[in-house]
Structure formats: C-alpha cells, structure tokens
C-alpha cells in the first residue's frame, strides 16, 4: 500500500499537471467545448452522467478481460508451437503478419454473419488484437538462451520437452511479460472496436452515440474509462510479473 503511494505520486502529479495545462489551454485559446472539452467540463459530465454511462462499463470490462485472457492463451500457444516446430514457424510467420493486416471493416461482416451478434465475434476481434505482440515477444524470448546452460541441458540428455519447460520457458518469461503489457494496453481499445460489431451496451457504443450527437464531453468520459481500465489491467499484470519473476537481484545493495 505504502509503495503504491510512493510509486503513485509521480505519475499522478504529472497527470494533474497535464490536466491543468489542458484546462488553461482550452480557456486561453478559447477552444470550443465540442472540439476539446476542458477537464472541468468532462469532470462535471463524469459526475452527473453516471446513470447514462454506468450500464456501459461492465460489458466492456468483461469483454476485454475475457478477450485479453484468451488472447494471452492463444498468443502463448501460438508462440510455443511456432518455436517448437521450426517447420511451422517458417511456414506460418507470414500468416501472423496477415492476421494483423485484415481491416476490421472486412472482417466485421464475415464475423457477424458466421457468429451472429453475440460475444463470440467480439472476443475474436480482441484476441486478434492481443495475441500478436505476445507471440512475437515470446518467440524472441525463446531465442535469447544462455549457450552454456543450453549445452548443459542437452548433454545431460534433457528431452525437448524438458529443455522447453526447464530452460526456454522460464528464460522467456521476461519477454513474455513485455508482450503481455503491450497487449493489455491494446485490449481495451480492442474491446471498444469490437463493439462496432453491433453491441447494445458498452463503452464503444456509448462513445459512438455520444460522438454522433456531438457530445464530445461524453466521448472524453468514455476515454477516461478506457484509460482507467487499461491502467488497472496493466497494474495487475505488473504485480503478477513481480510475483512470477522473483529471482532478479534487488538493487538495494548496489548504489544508484
């Protein structure tokens, strides 16, 4: 708790500073509220508009947590398979790239037609957004192996499976987490985009509706929630990372 406060004050103060600059910027340059509402304006909507936006939060949170979890799972499985079977790696690497280059406007009708308007097509979209950085980072982590340890494992007669579980996997964990952090950052936007596949509730829906009736303040309220959820997800992942990777030397004994 204490460390949270200690670690939190810097980003918090930077954010506060940002808000203050923004507020003055809007006031001084007389920027119209429909273009860029001032933080105070957004804050008022945040407080008063609860009954409008509240019901939209949970569906998106749900969507992006499920999507991120599945995205992680699929990213990890894909990365692992491509690593273990070099034949597949070469063959399917281009497919990975292709999967990231299919625009949502093409995918959307297909997904809706095949899977309807339920959660499934939306989760597929989030997975598509999330799995890629994880797979790439993981493949990269698998490569950076200490030669001496690898040679030891091989000479000791370790099977491929043992080499994987005892060496490659723990060795790739830091890279994996770097990938998961990138994915988590994208997952909320992924969820919002996925709601364009026809949802009746969700931050994405709320944002679209606000946008089309020129309520920019509400759009920004939506953004605030998108950011908040992202930060929370990221915080959770960082805590999990700390718990998983405990073997790194703490720097306390070293200077600086």
């Amino acid at each position: 708790m204490k460390t949270l406060i200690i670690k939190g004050w810097r980003p918090t103060s930077v954010l506060l500073l940002l808000f203050i600059i923004w507020e003055f910027f809007v006031k001084i340059f007389n920027i119209e509220q429909w273009l860029l509402p001032s933080p105070s304006h957004i804050f008022i909507e945040l407080v008063h508009g609860t009954d409008v936006y509240l019901e939209h939060l949970w569906p998106t949170i749900q969507l992006c947590i499920i999507g991120l979890l599945l995205g992680c799972a699929i990213g990890i499985v894909t990365g692992t398979i491509l690593h273990i079977v070099p034949f597949l790696r070469e063959a399917f690497y281009p497919l990975l790239i292709i999967s990231q280059n299919i625009p949502i406007i093409v995918l959307a009708p297909l997904l809706v037609i095949w899977f309807g308007f339920g959660m499934l097509p939306k989760i597929i979209v989030i997975i598509l957004v999330c799995f890629f950085p994880i797979t790439i980072a993981l493949l990269d982590g698998f490569k950076q192996i200490d030669r001496d340890i690898m040679n030891y494992m091989k000479m000791a007669g370790a099977t491929k499976k043992q080499i994987f579980w005892k060496l490659e996997w723990p060795n790739a964990l830091p890279s994996l987490f770097s990938g998961i952090k990138i994915s988590a950052t994208y997952s909320v936007m992924g969820a919002v985009i996925s709601e364009w596949l026809g949802a009746s509730k969700g931050i994405g829906v709320y944002m679209q509706l606000s946008q089309s009736s020129f309520r920019t303040d509400r759009v920004f309220v939506a953004i605030i929630f998108i950011i908040l959820i992202s930060l929370l997800l990221l915080g959770a992942i960082m805590m999990f990372e700390k718990w998983m990777i405990r073997w790194r030397p703490r720097e306390e004994n070293n200077r600086e």
């Binding site: 429909w34 273009l35 959307a108 009708p109 809706v112 308007f117 026809g198 009746s200 679209q208």
Partner: protein, 315 residues
C-alpha cells in the same frame, strides 16, 4: 432505456408467442429512426405479433447484414440499394422514411453561397466519392457554372464543424441533424438543397430495406412490420414532442435537446406531400439510377421496378 434489447419489462411473458425480427440501423440512432422506436415503445410491433430487436451495425453494414439474412430489415438509402442491386445483392426498399431529400450543401452564412453558381471559387470538403463531384456538377450545370472552378478536398471522416475550421467553404449535410446542431450552436448557415435544383437528385434517403428472399418466403412478416412502423411514424408526425421523448428514453446517450429540435423539424418531412407515409415512386428510382448511369457512377443500368415496392404499405 433497455427497451431495444429486452422489450418492456411488463409484457415479458407475452413475448413468447411473438415472431422474432431483427432490424439493423444505418448508423447510430437518430431522428430518422424515431418511428421505429415509437413503434417499439408503444407496442405497435407486439400488436402485430412481432418482437423486434434494433441493432446498431457498426462496421458490418446494414446492407450486408440484410442481404445475408442476418437481419430481416435494415435502414439504407436509395444510392446504397441502387449500387447493391447492380452488384447482384438482392435488396429491396419497402418504404421511404422521408419523402424528399433533406440533404444539401451547407455553408457559413457569411460565405453567401445561396445557389450552386456560388460554388465557383470555393472549396468543397467531401469524403472522396465520385458521386459528390457528379452531384455538384449537376447542380452547377443548371446555372451554367463550371465545376472546374471548385476545389474539391477530401476530408475523410471529418465532420462539418471541424471542416469549417479548416477553410472548407461548403459541405454536404443532412439538415435534420447537422443543420439543427448548427442552429443550436447559433452558427448561421445557408443551405443549397439538392431537391431544389434537380428532380433527379430528389432521391429517397433513408429507406427501409429487406431482402428478396424474405419478401417471397414471408410476405406476411414484412406486411406486419411495415404496418407497425408506419403507425410509429404516423405517431411521430402527429406528436413530435412525445415521439422525441420516446427516442430520448430509448437512447439516453443522445443529446436530448438536439433530438427534440431535430424531431420538431423532421416530423413534417416524413410524409410531406405523399398520399401516405412510406410511399415510393418509380420515377424517383428511375431518375436517380439513370443519373448515376449517365455520370458513370454505375456499370449497369438498374431495373428500377425491382428495387422497391409499395406493396406492403398499409392502405
């Protein structure tokens, strides 16, 4: 405002005997759709034995969803149906929501653009479709002005108000929504209405669509649906204020004042000079398709008779 998803809570049980029907909007809900929400809220659909779910399409367009039978009905516009049909997509327009084209070219009052000839020497901000240039050219021809003197700038998805900030002089808007917003913001604008300058461009937008299959297999559903919708729009025509409130209740995320003002303006335009709400004329379909063909916007000619039908409208 859960109506569009769950129906009114008090008649949950009676839902069971109802026929489930899906309707896809063209984009976010607005006053073009008031009649639909009225029909739902007032129970007109239920009276016809229908349980209607209204869906926002997002990236999957209404045309695609209706054509592939993912949705039974959708909101589209005449140009969309025309283009789709020439690509062998079996869509049929079954009602015109608004009788006349309420779109036009908007500009700031101080620009003094009151007729197409004033476009000369000005900058138009559009989304890059060849139709825009063709429309502007057609209008300007009426007054013997030349489109060569208009600078056409592609502004992508930029909205009217943002575009104005970037030295865009005129912009194509639907008055019923964007124009009203301008009124509310007290930005005085001039309109050059499409319908005023060319009969051919007085096309239907928006329209209600379904696919050919549903019409041949299940005409009764279509009839019932249109009957309820017609009742909804008639209600909106007579009670703009109440109708607006129903829409606001159903979609509270919309700006309430904009909806009210827009409804006030639009209610009279739904039926306008037509004998009944929803009526479509062959010549409108023909005129516009011909115009598109002449201007090279289409590769094939449209069989206009097949593109629409008045058959399901209530007497």
């Amino acid at each position: 405002g859960n109506n569009e998803q769950e129906g009114s809570p008090n008649n949950n049980e009676s839902n069971e005997g109802l026929e489930k029907v899906k309707l896809v909007l063209d984009w976010t809900p607005n006053t073009n759709h008031t009649g639909l929400y009225v029909a739902q809220d007032k129970g007109f659909f239920e009276e016809e034995g229908l349980d209607v779910e209204i869906i926002m399409p997002g990236e999957a367009t209404a045309e695609n969803l209706v054509a592939s039978a993912q949705a039974d009905f959708g909101i589209s516009y005449q140009e969309g149906v025309t283009l789709a049909r020439t690509q062998d997509i079996p869509l049929v327009s079954i009602a015109a929501i608004i009788q006349h084209n309420t779109s036009g070219f908007a500009s700031l009052k101080e620009q003094n653009i009151t007729s197409p000839k004033d476009f000369e020497g000005k900058t138009y901000g559009g989304w890059g479709s060849p139709i825009e240039a063709a429309v502007i050219e057609s209008l300007m021809k009426q007054e013997k002005a030349s489109i060569d003197k208009v600078e056409i700038l592609n502004v992508g998805n930029t909205d009217f108000f943002t575009a104005l900030q970037q030295n865009i002089d005129f912009f194509w808007i639907y008055y019923g929504w964007t124009g009203i917003e301008a009124e509310m913001r007290e930005i005085p604008i001039n309109m050059v209405w499409l319908a005023d300058y060319s009969e051919k461009l007085d096309y239907y937008t928006p329209v209600i669509i379904t696919n050919e299959e549903l019409i041949s297999d299940n005409p009764e559903t279509v009839r019932k649906f249109i009957a309820a919708v017609a009742k909804g729009y008639e209600f909106a025509i007579k009670n703009p204020e109440e109708a607006a409130n129903l829409l606001i209740d159903a979609v509270p995320e919309l700006d309430a004042e904009l909806v009210r003002k827009s409804q006030e303006w639009l209610s009279a335009k739904y039926q306008d000079d037509a004998p009944r709400w929803g009526e479509q004329k062959l010549e409108v379909w023909k005129n516009y398709a011909d115009w598109m063909f002449e201007n090279g916007l289409m590769e094939k000619e449209l069989e206009a008779e097949k593109a629409f039908t008045n058959e399901f409208l209530p007497e």
